[in-house]
Amino acid sequence: MSAHRLPGTLFGSAVAALGVAAVVASQQIKTGFTYDVVGPAMFSNLIGVGLVLSGIASVISARRASLEDLPDQPKLNLWPVGLISAALLLEAALISRLGWIPVVATVFVAGTYAFGDRRILSNALTGLVLATVILLVFTLGLGIDLPLGPLEPLFQSDQ
């Protein structure tokens, strides 16, 4: 198989597998409600079948397509994707404990680094300012609470 056809084939197989998983998981959904003729599992089963069929169709069309119809695969540089992913997951893990400002500043630094900007310190400063401004606008201006982390007592003593 040509390398050009590989992405479409992999994608189709993954979609079909997801469909099978959806049908299997749908068996766990409780059914048999008298007021609901078809029950909550019917639609998810339908979707599972749809995923399987469209996955198979994707594989077939990827294998049938002539090579010049397939777009050139751009060269992918995966370390920036890994770096941004790590920053986003770190953010999810620590946002309640450390608060909005430090984790968001970290995300900003990771994003700039992934795009080739190596000035970590000055970007960290920019990120901190950006995060602080957003926090102030949201908490003071709009009344939406973003997590403060260790800064919490500071704000409470103000009120």
Binding site: V15, V81, I84, L130, A131, F138, I144, L146
Partner: protein, 508 residues
């Protein structure tokens, strides 16, 4: 003339000083975020949604209307000066708009885009004013099976229109994307029986996956990851504005007809489920090229090639609001995110909302007229401010997009699980982008899935489990037949011809 009375009441709501300020804030933020490269109108609306949380619904939707129109205006500036259209609707603008900018006529391209957007936006809003009540009349006659079939039809048309027949995977990819969206839509408690589906014991999943999380994940995070993986920090070349900022007499005389024609093409096509603003902008561009006395200028900076598509783009944005407000049926990804905004307020667009909350609906429509005027002011004399936003260095821009996305998603419910889902969806969006799978069907599937399921089960409850109910109702049978034709035609023709011809569709 009942419509005009209602519209007058709408203006009374929208013209209160408080709501005027929200409208101004909406159009300004919409333009500011919409102008950022790589962020289309759908992402703009999604990211800015949490800003309205503390507001009463009427003010919130007036602000949304501003964001919605502002994002459309902002996108054209990016296409013209940077040649990086944020969404399919501004791709045609980018062709000649950027060529004009290269030849030092960027200011004129921006002006014809802004004035054309104003003219077409206003015509489109007038169309919306009169079409929406008519659609409501029709909507009241539709039964549950008809609604089900209508939504299936709209998903079928959008999916086939947006699938790139040359991309190798074509329709199959689009349908897979659609079903993935439908699957995401079933996560959480089944609203009819209270049974959990696909929640895997995670309490945060019981409420379902938010449309905002999916839209921001697929569009903003997916795009950021893709840009990071492909061209990293390579700087865009921006064309400085120089020379006269005014449109010459010739510019005006070459622009006004394309504006009007663009508006007439854009509004009706925006109102039907045809995949948003892509088809009308391509049609308008082709038409202007055909009608032009100098077709050879197209591609090299013909002002008609900016005026027409940009007008069509904005009129179709107004058109998309008609089925959204009257039927609760989104026909573009931006409209889908707007529908999510309504749902956030516990409001369900449709005929009933016109009855029960007419001041909100008409206030929103009136604010569209007002927002258009503000946008003209924001985009003509103040265009320099937005141009400056474009010169943000790429690392800062995408770093900022990551921050804004986190903000938009986290402030929805204040839980960190949404950030994990955001990352997962972002990775899915990145992979889809790499392979060339269209993203819009997924977003529409997510938002329409629960509605389709509800109508499906309602129909089957009425028919006591008899599936023939969908073909015995003439309206529903007709819609389903058309839907089938849309999906089957390209598949059959691709089976006949081993090498499909290239067509207008673009994968975005």
């Amino acid at each position: 003339m009942e419509t005009l009375t209602l519209l007058a009441q709408g203006f009374a709501v929208a013209l209160t000083p408080g709501n005027l300020i929200w409208s101004i804030i909406g159009v300004t933020l919409g333009t500011a975020i919409g102008v950022l490269p790589g962020i289309g109108p759908a992402t703009t609306v999604a990211i800015l949604m949490p800003l309205t949380v503390g507001l009463p619904p009427v003010s919130a939707f007036i602000m949304f209307a501003g964001i919605y129109y502002g994002a459309q205006y902002g996108g054209s500036t990016t296409s013209i000066l940077l040649n990086t259209p944020g969404e399919a609707g501004s791709m045609m603008t980018a062709v000649d708009g950027n060529a004009m900018a290269r030849r030092g006529r960027g200011a004129q391209a921006l002006a014809t885009a802004a004035i054309g957007s104003f003219v077409a936006g206003t015509i489109g809003t007038i169309g919306l004013t009169f079409a929406a009540p008519l659609l409501v009349e029709i909507a009241l006659k539709l039964t549950a099976p008809d609604y089900f079939a209508l939504m299936v039809l709209s998903l079928a048309t959008v999916t086939t229109m947006l699938s790139n027949p040359t991309g190798g995977g074509s329709i199959a990819f689009g349908i897979a994307s659609l079903f993935f969206g439908l699957l995401l839509g079933t996560v959480g408690l089944d609203p009819q029986t209270g049974q959990a589906r696909f929640a895997f014991g995670v309490p945060e999943l019981l409420d379902g996956i938010d449309t905002v999380v999916v839209a921001v994940g697929l569009f903003a995070i997916g795009e950021t990851l893709y840009m990071a993986a492909t061209d990293g920090g390579k700087a865009d070349s921006m064309h400085k504005l120089r020379g006269s900022f005014w449109m010459s007499r010739e510019d005006w005389s070459r622009s006004w007809k394309p504006w009007l024609r663009g508006a007439l093409i854009g509004f009706p096509i925006g109102a039907i489920p045809a995949g948003g603003s892509e088809i009308p902008t391509v049609l308008s561009y082709t038409l202007e090229k055909k009608l032009s006395k100098k077709p050879e200028e197209f591609g090299l900076g013909a002002i008609e090639g900016v005026a027409g598509p940009e007008a069509a783009n904005n009129a179709s944005a107004a058109g998309a609001l008609s089925p959204l407000l009257a039927l609760g049926l989104p026909t573009s990804s931006t409209a889908a995110v707007m529908l999510a905004a309504f749902q956030q307020y516990g409001l369900r667009p449709g005929p009933l909302l016109f009855e029960s909350n007419s001041s909100l609906i008409w206030g929103l429509i009136a604010s569209l007229y007002i927002g258009n005027v503000f946008l003209l002011v924001l985009n003509l004399p103040m265009v320099g401010v937005w141009v400056r936003l474009l010169s943000l260095p790429k690392p800062w821009l995408y770093g900022g997009i990551l921050v804004l996305s986190s903000l938009g998603v986290y402030s929805l419910n204040g839980n960190a699980v949404d950030l994990v889902i955001l990352w997962i969806i972002g990775m899915v969006g990145f992979i889809m982008r790499v392979i060339g799978v269209p993203i819009v069907p997924c977003v529409l599937g997510l938002i329409l899935g629960p509605l389709i399921e509800q109508q499906l089960r309602r129909s089957l409850a009425i028919s006591q489990g008899d599936w023939t109910v969908f073909v015995t109702h003439p309206v529903s049978a007709f819609f389903l037949l058309v839907a089938l034709a849309f999906v089957a035609t390209p598949i059959i023709s691709s089976l006949r011809k081993p090498k499909p011809q290239s067509a207008v569709g673009m994968t975005r």
